[in-house]
C-alpha cells in the first residue's frame, strides 16, 4: 500500500480548503470492511492455510471481487474464489501443491459491495519456518 497524507498534511489541506478552495485531492471512500477473517490478521501459522475466508460488513458482488496472496518478496498468488455461500463471505481454497515460503504474507482483497463501493485491503499473517 502506498503511503498517504499524514494528519498534519490533511490538516493543512483542510485549512487551505476552508480558506481558499483548492482542488482537494485524495478522499478516503470506503464502505465494505472486514469484520472477521481466517486466518485472522496478525496470525502466526506453523503451516500454510489450505482455506482462507473473509467476512465483510456488506453484501459482496462475488463475481467482481478478488483475492490474492502477497509473499515476503512481493510475489503475488491469485486465488480462485469458492462459489458464493453467503452474501457477505469471500472464500478461497489454496492449491494443495502450493508451497508458501516462510515469512510475512498478506491476504490482499478487493471487493465490490452491492451498493457499488470498491474497497481493498490486506490481512497480514506470518508463516513460521519449518
Amino acid at each position: 500500500m502506498p503511503p498517504s497524507a499524514s494528519p498534519a498534511r490533511i490538516g493543512r489541506r483542510l485549512l487551505l480548503g476552508f480558506i481558499a478552495l483548492p482542488a482537494l485531492a485524495r478522499q478516503a471512500a470506503a464502505h465494505a470492511v472486514v469484520v472477521a477473517s481466517d486466518p485472522p490478521a496478525g496470525a502466526v501459522l506453523a503451516a500454510a492455510p489450505r482455506h482462507v475466508t473473509l467476512r465483510f460488513n456488506s453484501r459482496i458482488d462475488h463475481a467482481r471481487s478478488r483475492l490474492l496472496l502477497v509473499g515476503p518478496e512481493g510475489a503475488q498468488v491469485p486465488l480462485d474464489l469458492a462459489p458464493e455461500a453467503e452474501p457477505a463471505l469471500l472464500a478461497a481454497d489454496l492449491a494443495p501443491d502450493a508451497a508458501l515460503a516462510p515469512g510475512a504474507w498478506r491476504l490482499r482483497w478487493q471487493v465490490l459491495a452491492v451498493d457499488g463501493h470498491i474497497t481493498r485491503g490486506d490481512v497480514p499473517f506470518t508463516l513460521q519456518p519449518r
Binding site: S4, A5, L16, I19, R26, A30, L112
Partner: protein, 553 residues
C-alpha cells in the same frame, strides 16, 4: 491510471454530491409541479396560473438534465475505477447491481424528461406518469444506497433511506421552484408559499422517520457521534438540519401568521435562499456519509470523549516558526513514535480497508505537525482579526474598519510564502522547480484565490463593485464550507485523522452559515441586512478562535 485512482475517491464523492443535489431537486420539482402548481393554478388568475405551471415544468426539465448527467457520470466513474482495478473489460462489469440501479434511474429520468417536454398544463394521465417515473427514480436511488448492501435490518434501512430521500425532496427539493414562485403577484406568491409549507412539514416528518431508522441501523448510540467519522458527519448534518428547521419555522410564521407585515414576502424569499444554501451543504454531507462505513460496523478503536476534550482544550497558540533546535520537537517526536508503535501493533491484528488510490498513514512527524499548527494558528489570528474588524464595521461608527478585507491579503501572503517550506522564498527549490509538485501549485493557487476574493470584497466595500460580483466573497465562504464537508474521512477509526476532522467540521458549518448570512445581508431587505451583518462576522470570529486552538497532537 494510478493518478486516476488517486483522484477517484474525492471525485466520486463530489459527483455523488452533485447527483444527490440534482436528484433531490428533480423529485422536489415533480412534487411541486404535480402536487402544488397544477392543483393550485385552478384557483389563481390566468396569468399567475400559467406562470406557476411553467415554473413547475422548467424545474423538472433543468433538474432532470442535471440528474441524468450526474447519474451517468457517477456510474461511469465507478465503472472506470472497477475496470482499472480488476483489469476487466467494461462489458463484464455491466451486470453489477449498482449498474442496474443506475440504469433504472437513467430510464426514469429519461421518462420524466419526455413527459416534461409537453405543455406546462398536464392531463391526469401525464401527471400520473410523472409521479410513477419519480417513484421509479426513488426506488432506483434507494437500490443503489448503503441499505441494499446491509446484511441485517435491510428492509428497515431500505424503507428509512427511501423515506429520508423522499422527505428531502418534499422539503429541500422544491425550494428552487418555490423561489421562482415568489415572482408571481404577491397574493398568488403567498398562496404558493402557504401550500408549500404543508409539503415542507410533511418532508420534515419523513426525514425524521428516516433518521430514526438510521439511528438504529447505522449509528447505535451517542458515543458513535464523536467516536467515528460516520457519527461526526451525522452530527454535523443534524446541526445543519436544525438550522434549516429554524429557517423553515420562520417562513411558516411569516407566511401564516405575519403575512400582513410589509416586506414579509421578501423576507421569506431571503430565508428560502439561505435554506437552499444550507440544503446543498446538508446534501453534501449526505453524499460524504455514503463514503464511510456505518458507525455500527466499527465498534473498536473509537475516539473517546476524554480524547475529544483533551484535543479541544485550548492551549497557547504556536506563534513561533518551529525549527529542529526547538526542544519541544524531540519530546513531541518521542511521544509520536511511542503512539506509532502502539498503533502498528494494534493494526497488525486488525484488517485495514482502503479505497483504490488511498493507503496507510505514514508515521507522524513532529516537525510537520508543529509546522501545520503554526500555520493554523497564524491563519486563525488573521481570520479573528478580520472578524473583529468586520464587527467594528457593522457598528457603522469606525469608518476605517470597512477596509477589513485587506487583512485577508496578509493571509494570502502567508499562504503563498509559508505553505511549502522547501520552495522559494523559504527553501532551496526555485519557484519554477517547486511548481512541478501539484500540492505546491494548489497552495500557490490558494494564496492567489484568497487575494482575489479579498480584493473583490474590498472593492464591494468601497462601492466600486455592484451587481453579481458582490457575491464573490459569500460564494467563496459557502463553497469552502461545502468542500470541507466533502473532504477526507477516516475509513476505519484512525484516531489522528478523525480528531483533525472533528476540529474542521464546525469550521465548515460556520463557513456555510457565514456565507448564507453575507448573501442575505447583500440581498436585503433592510431588516434582514441589519441582523445578517452581525452574523457572518461572528462566524468569522468563531472560525478564527477554532483555528487558534487547533492542535494535531
Amino acid at each position: 491510471m494510478e493518478q486516476f485512482l488517486d483522484l477517484y475517491g474525492f471525485a466520486g464523492v463530489v459527483l455523488h454530491a452533485a447527483e444527490l443535489v440534482a436528484r433531490t431537486a428533480l423529485l422536489g420539482g415533480v412534487i411541486f409541479w404535480v402536487g402544488l402548481a397544477l392543483p393550485l393554478a385552478r384557483f389563481l388568475a390566468p396569468g399567475d396560473a400559467t406562470r406557476l405551471r411553467r415554473i413547475g415544468r422548467r424545474a423538472v426539465l433543468w433538474s432532470g438534465l442535471a440528474t441524468l448527467l450526474a447519474t451517468l457520470g457517477t456510474c461511469g466513474l465507478d465503472l472506470l475505477a472497477l475496470s482499472a482495478t480488476l483489469d476487466a473489460p467494461f462489458a463484464a462489469l455491466l451486470g453489477a447491481d449498482f449498474v442496474h440501479a443506475a440504469a433504472v434511474q437513467a430510464l426514469a429520468i429519461l421518462l420524466l424528461l419526455v413527459l416534461a417536454l409537453g405543455p406546462a398544463e398536464a392531463s391526469a394521465v401525464r401527471a400520473f406518469g410523472l409521479l410513477l417515473a419519480a417513484l421509479a427514480l426513488l426506488v432506483g436511488a434507494t437500490a443503489g444506497s448503503h441499505a441494499i448492501a446491509r446484511t441485517e435490518n435491510r428492509g428497515m434501512l431500505l424503507a428509512a433511506t427511501g423515506l429520508h430521500q423522499l422527505g428531502a425532496a418534499f422539503w429541500i427539493g422544491g425550494l428552487p421552484a418555490l423561489l421562482a414562485g415568489f415572482r408571481l403577484s404577491p397574493a398568488a406568491a403567498r398562496r404558493v408559499g402557504q401550500r408549500y409549507s404543508a409539503f415542507a412539514a410533511a418532508g420534515v416528518l419523513l426525514i425524521l422517520l428516516g433518521i430514526a431508522g438510521f439511528w438504529i441501523g447505522y449509528l447505535g448510540g451517542v458515543p458513535a457521534l464523536y467516536g467515528t467519522a460516520y457519527g461526526a458527519m451525522s452530527a454535523t448534518k443534524a446541526v445543519m438540519l436544525g438550522l434549516l428547521l429554524l429557517l423553515g419555522a420562520s417562513n411558516w410564521l411569516l407566511l401564516h401568521r405575519l403575512s400582513g407585515t410589509p416586506g414579509g414576502l421578501l423576507r421569506v424569499r431571503r430565508f428560502v435562499e439561505a435554506e437552499i444554501g444550507l440544503g446543498i451543504a446538508v446534501l453534501a454531507v449526505a453524499a460524504s456519509l455514503t463514503s464511510v462505513p456505518p458507525a455500527a460496523d466499527l465498534p473498536e478503536d473509537r475516539v473517546s470523549w476524554a480524547e475529544v476534550v483533551e484535543r479541544f482544550t485550548p492551549a497557547w497558540p504556536r506563534l513561533q516558526s518551529p525549527n529542529h533546535a526547538d526542544l519541544a520537537i524531540p519530546a513531541l517526536q518521542a511521544q509520536l513514535d511511542r503512539e506509532w508503535q502502539q498503533r502498528q501493533a494494534a493494526q497488525a491484528a486488525r484488517p485495514q480497508a482502503f479505497t483504490p488510490g488511498e493507503g496507510l498513514l505514514p508515521p507522524r512527524n513532529a516537525g510537520d505537525i508543529a509546522w501545520s499548527e503554526y500555520n493554523h494558528h497564524w491563519a486563525g489570528l488573521m481570520v479573528l482579526l478580520v472578524g473583529l474588524a468586520a464587527l467594528l464595521d457593522a457598528t457603522g461608527r469606525v469608518p476605517v474598519a470597512r477596509h477589513w478585507p485587506l487583512v485577508f491579503l496578509g493571509l494570502a501572503f502567508f499562504i503563498l510564502v509559508r505553505s511549502d517550506a522547501e520552495v522559494w522564498p523559504l527553501g532551496e527549490l526555485s519557484l519554477l522547480e517547486g511548481l512541478r509538485d501539484p500540492e505546491v501549485v494548489q497552495h500557490k493557487l490558494a494564496g492567489l484565490l484568497v487575494a482575489g476574493f479579498a480584493l473583490a470584497e474590498w472593492w464591494v466595500r468601497l462601492g466600486r463593485i455592484r451587481g453579481r460580483a458582490r457575491f464573490i466573497f459569500p460564494s467563496a465562504m459557502l463553497a469552502g464550507g461545502v468542500l470541507l464537508l466533502l473532504h477526507t474521512h477516516a475509513i476505519g477509526n484512525l484516531k489522528d485523522a478523525l480528531l483533525v476532522e472533528l476540529s474542521h467540521l464546525p469550521l465548515a458549518v460556520l463557513a456555510v452559515v457565514g456565507g448564507c448570512a453575507r448573501f442575505a445581508e447583500l440581498r436585503g431587505p433592510a431588516e434582514i441586512s441589519r441582523l445578517a451583518r452581525w452574523v457572518w462576522p461572528l462566524c468569522l470570529v468563531l472560525v478564527g478562535l477554532l483555528l487558534i486552538i487547533y492542535r494535531e497532537a
